[in-house]
Symmetry: C2
Subunit: 149 residues, 2 copies
DNA sequence: TGGATTTGGATGCATATGCATCAATATATA
DNA sequence: TATATATTGATGCATATGCATCCAAATCCA
């Protein structure tokens, strides 16, 4: 557990982190696609926009919240706009900025997607963890990995 | 925790699984790239090849082991071959098959990469988990998500 | 004030991935 | 044996991501 020599257990935790998310994310995305829905990234952005307090979010805020690269936010918003799920407005105080807002159609997609998404999470995560205590432990441990530092 | 209504805790565990791996994988890959090394996917393939018992692995075996799509294996092996890290041989018993083998240069890359990779794992995983017990718990819980079913 | 620097976001180009399809070989079935 | 089917891997095309750079507006500073 020292700086440059992780224990075998740490290496195993790392390998499983990558493999578990790869497998589960793939399974969840496949379920959603089968049901005719767009990629999860679209859901994530729309959800952030719906949660947002004011009139929407700046690209920068989406970037920070979802850990995306700047150019990817730019293009993801392009696609969402083309699909009519979000709108772009200039922001008064900063002539450089875009304020991205969710449209009624975007809100509708969120509502329609959630039942399928929820079922996929239950199927590929909840069912395998078996207990609420395990879910709690996993969430706590993963939280440590996310925390800054 | 029922089939289509995961608890809030399960949903949180899911969200953190995606976010934690995204963040940690990004950090590890960035460390490796800074040190002048190729993507982790290259390391993964080479490691499987070095571990392989016989004279190498079929595409199908790489595919199953690393959970990759068939066409991605095909192209990943192309890139590795072009970089001189692996070789391709026809397989005697099956005229359709390719046997992929690691070259001395590939083995050398594995050896040179490991210290940097190991340090990145320690920095971005080990250090944050803090204890061996936590690493063990995390590995166990993630193992449940990977298990078939 | 006026020019340098920084910041927010867009975009051209290279690379990687997903999807469908194809060619070649192997296997099953009549 | 001859034909149909299944399996292995490659490839053309569309889309997504990374990287570098660019443009425009904002901020800094002499």
């Amino acid at each position: 557990m020292t700086e440059n020599a992780p224990s075998e257990t740490v290496v195993q935790a790392w390998a499983r982190l990558v493999k578990a998310q790869h497998k589960v994310l793939g399974a969840v995305e496949a379920d959603l696609k089968r049901a005719g829905f767009p990629p999860l990234a679209w859901y994530d952005v729309l959800l952030e926009l719906r949660r947002a307090p004011g009139q929407g979010l700046r690209h920068l805020e989406i970037e920070a919240e979802l850990l995306l690269a700047q150019h990817n936010v730019s293009r993801l918003v392009d696609r969402l706009e083309k699909a009519g799920l979000v709108g772009r407005r200039p922001v008064a105080e900063d002539g450089r900025g875009q304020l991205v807002t969710i449209t009624p159609s975007g809100r509708d997609l969120l509502r329609r997607m959630w039942p399928a998404y929820r079922a996929a999470i239950a199927r590929h995560v909840g069912r395998k963890l078996e207990s609420e205590a395990n879910a709690r432990s996993l969430a706590d441990l993963l939280g440590r990995l996310i925390d800054a530092g």
